[in-house]
Symmetry: C2
Subunit: 402 residues, 2 copies
Amino acid sequence: MIKIAVLGYGTVGSGVVEVIERHNSLLSERLREKIAVKYILDLRDFPGDTYEDKIVHDYSTILNDPEISILCEVMGGVGAAYQFTKQALEAGKSVCTSNKELVAKHGAELFAIAERMHCNYMFEASVAGGIPIIRAIGSALSADRVEAVTGILNGTTNYILTKMEKEGADYADVLKQAQELGYAERNPEADVEGLDAGRKIAILADMLTGKNVNPDKVTTEGITKITSADFAYAKAAGMTIKLLARCSVSEDGSVQALVAPFMLPADHALGRVDDVFNGVLVTCTMLGDAMFGGQGAGKLPTASAVAADVMDCAMHPGRTVMRGWSEEEAELADVTETERRFFVRIKASALADVQAAFAGSSLVEAGGGEDSGLFVPAMKEKEFDAKCAALGDAILNRIRVA
Amino acid sequence: MIKIAVLGYGTVGSGVVEVIERHNSLLSERLREKIAVKYILDLRDFPGDTYEDKIVHDYSTILNDPEISILCEVMGGVGAAYQFTKQALEAGKSVCTSNKELVAKHGAELFAIAERMHCNYMFEASVAGGIPIIRAIGSALSADRVEAVTGILNGTTNYILTKMEKEGADYADVLKQAQELGYAERNPEADVEGLDAGRKIAILADMLTGKNVNPDKVTTEGITKITSADFAYAKAAGMTIKLLARCSVSEDGSVQALVAPFMLPADHALGRVDDVFNGVLVTCTMLGDAMFGGQGAGKLPTASAVAADVMDCAMHPGRTVMRGWSEEEAELADVTETERRFFVRIKASALADVQAAFAGSSLVEAGGGEDSGLFVPAMKEKEFDAKCAALGDAILNRIRVA
C-alpha cells in the first residue's frame, strides 16, 4: 500500500485527491499496489467534506509517519512550502509539486537533496499544467539538443488577448470580465505583467542549461499596454498578438530568456492557441520543431499532472527518476543585444519622421485615423529603443515581431 | 562506459549512430558516464564509412559481449529482428526499437521477458517518430484515463492528401511525385492502404487497454479512392480530408480501432497538420484534450527518439522503466456498429433518390457538374452501408465525417 499526503486543500489539492480517488482502481492496477491519500494538510477545517477525516493541521504528523513515502506540495509560496519540501526530502520522502515559484527559486537546492536521499522532487505541474512539457524535455528529448522553447504559458493573459482579438474589446474591459469569470485574480499583476510566465520560462531555461536561472533576472514585459488599435493593425497584416515566453541556448552557450507580447502570423502554430489554452513549441537540433498544446491550468488538468508524478515516484521507490539542474547560476544574455523586427504604432502626424528614422519600414493599412502602423526592419533592440527615444511621443506603442 | 550496439545500418541506424556521436559530450554529461557505439550489425560492408571498423556481420559477437548492455533494433521486419530482440532481452540486455511491426505483433511477449530479466524493451520511435507520444501516454498521463487517441500517423499519406488539397491534383499524379521525392515507397501499399497507420494505432490501443490488440484486426481503409472532386466538396464545406487513425476505450471497456480517411473541419487541430508532419490528439478524463505535433518520420527525428530510449535505459540499469501490456488479446468492437456522419459524392442524376434514402441530408455546393455532394445525418455505419448498397452505382464515394 502506497500512502501519500497532500499539502494544501485548495483548488489543485482537492483536484489531486479527486484524481487519486476517482481513478483509484486504475492507478492501483497500474502500480500493482493499492494507493491512497492518508493525510491532507490544511490550516482550515472542512466540516462535512468527504475527506474531512484525513485533514491534519500539524505537518509533523506527516513528516514523522513512516508510512508516507510521497507528498504533493500544492500550497504555493516559498515560505512554509519550502520548509516542508526540504524537510520531506531530507527524510527521503518524494515531493511532487505544482509550485512554479518554489521550483524556479529553490529547485536546484531541492534536487540536490532529493538525489542525495534517493528520492524525487517532481514538478511536471509547475509549467503548462497538464501539458507534459517537463517530461518531454527531461526524458523524451534527452538525446537531442533543445535550442529553444517558445510558449504561451499563461492562460489568463491568453484569454484576455484572445477576447481582445475576437471582440475588438479593450484591455480594461476584458480584464474585468476575466476577473468576474474567475480566469483572472483580483490582483492580476503576476499574470498581466508576465511574472508568472517568467517563472515558468525560468524553469524551462533551467532544464535547457542545466544551471540555475534566476527568475528575477528574466526580462518580462506584460500585456497592459496592448490596445484594440494594435490588434486592428495585426489583423490587417494577417497576424495576431500573443504573450510569448521564450528561452534559447545558442551553441556557444549564450542563454536568452524573455517574456513579452509578440506579433506573429495568425497561422503560426502558437498563433492558433486561443483562450485559456497553453502551447509550447520546442526546437531541437535533431528533431526539428515539436508542438505541445492543451490545458495549461485548471483544477483537474494540473492535478492530473501532479498525480502522474506521484505514479512515477511510486513506480520507482528509492530511486531518483529525473535529475534537476545545478546550483551554479546561469548567466543571461542582454536581450537588448538581440536583433529583431518590431511593429510600431505611431501618431499619424509623425509618419514622415518615423519613416526617416526607420529606413525600409513598411506601412500597414488598417483604416487609419489618428495613428499609423509600421513594421520596422530587423535591428538590435537597443538600437531600436534609442531611435524610439529620439522620436519621443510620436511612438504610441511598439511590439516585437516573431 | 556505456557501450551499445546498433542492429541495421540503414537510414534510422545511421541516424542513431550520428545522434550518439554528434551529441556525445552532451549525452555523456547527462549520464555522468561516457557512452559509445561499439558495434553496428549489418550484412553489408561499408568500405570508407567513418564507422567501418564497428561493422560486424555476426550477431553472436554482440550477444556474447558482456560490455554491451543496450541494443538499438532498427532493422525492421518480424523475422531476424524478433529473434535478435528476444535473445538480447533473455540475456538481460535492453532493446530500443523503431520497429512498429514487431512491437505491434510481439510486443507483449517481449515486455514480459524484459520485465522478468529487469531490462527494457523501449519503443518511443515506433509511433509518430520524434513526437514523444509513447512517453506521454505511458508516463505523463499515467494518472489519467485516456479515452481516445486520434492521430495523423503516416507522413506519406498526409503529404499526398496535402498536395491534393493545395494543388487540386489527382491521387495518382501526387503519388508518382511523392515516389520520385522519396516520400513514398515504390510499393506504396503499406502506407496508402492504411496498414502502417494501423500498426501504429494498434500499439497505442495496446497501451490504452493494457492488452494485446491484434494489428491485423484493426479496420483499415486507405486513401486510394479519394479524388480531387472530394477535396472540392470538402473545401466548399470549410473542411479538409485526412487519414486518421483512431482508437478509443469506452468506460464499459469496449475498444475501437480504425484507420480511415475522414472529412474534418479545416480549423480542427488535426486539420492543420500538413505535409509529412504527424499530429496526435489525446483525450483524457481529467486533462481534456492534449495535442502533440512534429516530424513523425525521417532519419534524425526517429533516431533522436531511439537515442532518448537509450538514455533512459542507461540512466536506469537493471530496472524496467516502463511496463508494456499483457499477452491477453483485447476484443475489438465492430466499427460498423458506430454511429457517425458521412459525406457522399453521388451521380447528380441520382440526387432525388439519395435524398429520399437519407432523409435530412444537406447538399454541398461545389460548382456542380456530373456529381453532387451531401452530408448524411448520423447513423450506424452498417445502416449507412446498407442504404448505399441499395443505391448501387449512384454512390461515387463516401467519406466518414469527424
